[in-house]
């Protein structure tokens, strides 16, 4: 599950692949990722392989009080 929607990723896909699939306009900054509710630091995006059925949240800044 990627941002609440069921999405297909190749076997061995990493968090970095999920960030691209999520469609972030700027992947370089201002983005954070949680897998199964736990933050995955940017430095680990390339290495963290996703398992089938894991819930991934990719978030960024929006307007808010």
């Amino acid at each position: 599950m990627l941002n609440g929607e069921e999405r297909e990723l190749a076997d061995g896909a990493t968090v970095a692949d999920a960030v691209v699939l999520a469609g972030a306009p700027d992947v370089e900054r201002g983005i954070a990722v949680a897998v199964e509710g736990e933050v995955v630091p940017r430095a680990e995006w390339e290495d963290r392989v996703l398992a089938d059925g894991e819930a991934i949240e990719v978030v960024h800044a929006v307007q808010g009080g």
Binding site: G23, A32, V39, P41, V59, H60, G64
Partner: protein, 265 residues
């Protein structure tokens, strides 16, 4: 020559967290009709700190709020808006730390979506957890002096009592409680939520608050840019008035003109 109220005397820096700030107005970025309008308004407000929220990436979103904030050289204060439990607020704060590289957080833990009032029990648990995690915690709280004290004891960097519910524009409903919170606090007190117009912001400062945080009062005004400038002046005026020492309120008149020397006509 600028008046003393407009000059350095009334705009002395204040400490929040481990930093010094010049502006005593913090602006939330929610509610603006466009990023362009937000940018003009933030500039007019003179604010140095602005709040943002974290939401799922939207591939169709136009423009970037991060670009605007960077262009204006402002400090990003992420919030935990939309969280109803300590657990969710703590996780959101950790995501924000990763996204923005800041351990500052405006901590909001809401009780229900009709009042948007803080859930005191969850708020205190979240604050304790995040302070333990090394965060600079700025909690949005009820105008409750006891809860404010508990948040200070938990290690929060400031307390941010509401004037009235978020977005209500109802002003400061309980100035007595705000005054008590100010009297007992040894950390900054930031009036957060409920500001409707400039006089509300002035009143917060006259009550002794260190700063004012507002969003809707500017972003949903008919002319946000104009209101942003009004709020900037209101905070400066209220702070100067507080330091100037107002006259006591009296029931009867006290002439300012002497009776001596009145001609007998």
């Amino acid at each position: 020559m600028p008046s003393r109220a407009d000059s350095g005397e009334a705009t002395a820096t204040w400490a929040l967290g481990d930093r010094e700030w010049s502006s005593r107005l913090i602006v939330g970025t929610g509610g603006f009709r466009s990023l362009e309008q937000m940018e003009r308004s933030l500039e007019a407000s003179g604010a140095e700190i602005v709040t943002v929220a974290l939401r799922r990436v939207d591939p169709l979103a136009q423009g970037s709020i991060t670009d605007v904030i960077d262009r204006l050289g402002l400090f990003t204060l992420p919030n935990t808006a939309g969280c109803y439990t300590a657990r969710d607020a703590v996780k959101t704060a950790r995501l924000a730390r990763e996204a923005f590289g800041t351990d500052w957080v405006k901590l909001e833990v809401i009780g229900d979506d009709r009042t948007l009032l803080p859930d005191a029990a969850e708020l205190l648990v979240a604050a304790e957890t995040l302070v333990g995690d090394g965060f600079t915690v700025l909690p949005y709280t009820n105008d409750d002096p006891i809860l404010a004290r508990r948040l200070e004891e938990a290690g929060c960097a400031a307390v941010m009592p509401l004037g009235s519910p978020i977005g209500s524009g109802a002003g400061i409903r309980n100035p007595y409680n705000i005054r008590i919170i100010v009297e007992q606090a040894s950390i900054p007190v930031i009036l957060d939520a409920g500001i409707g117009t400039a006089s509300d912001a002035s009143m917060a400062m006259e009550l002794g608050c260190d700063a004012v945080l507002l969003a809707s009062a500017v972003s949903r005004a008919a002319d946000p840019e104009l209101m942003a400038g009004a709020m900037r002046s209101a905070v400066v005026a209220g702070y100067a008035a507080r330091r100037a020492g107002r006259i006591p309120k009296r029931t009867h008149a006290l002439p300012s003109t002497p009776d001596e020397g009145l001609p007998d006509l």
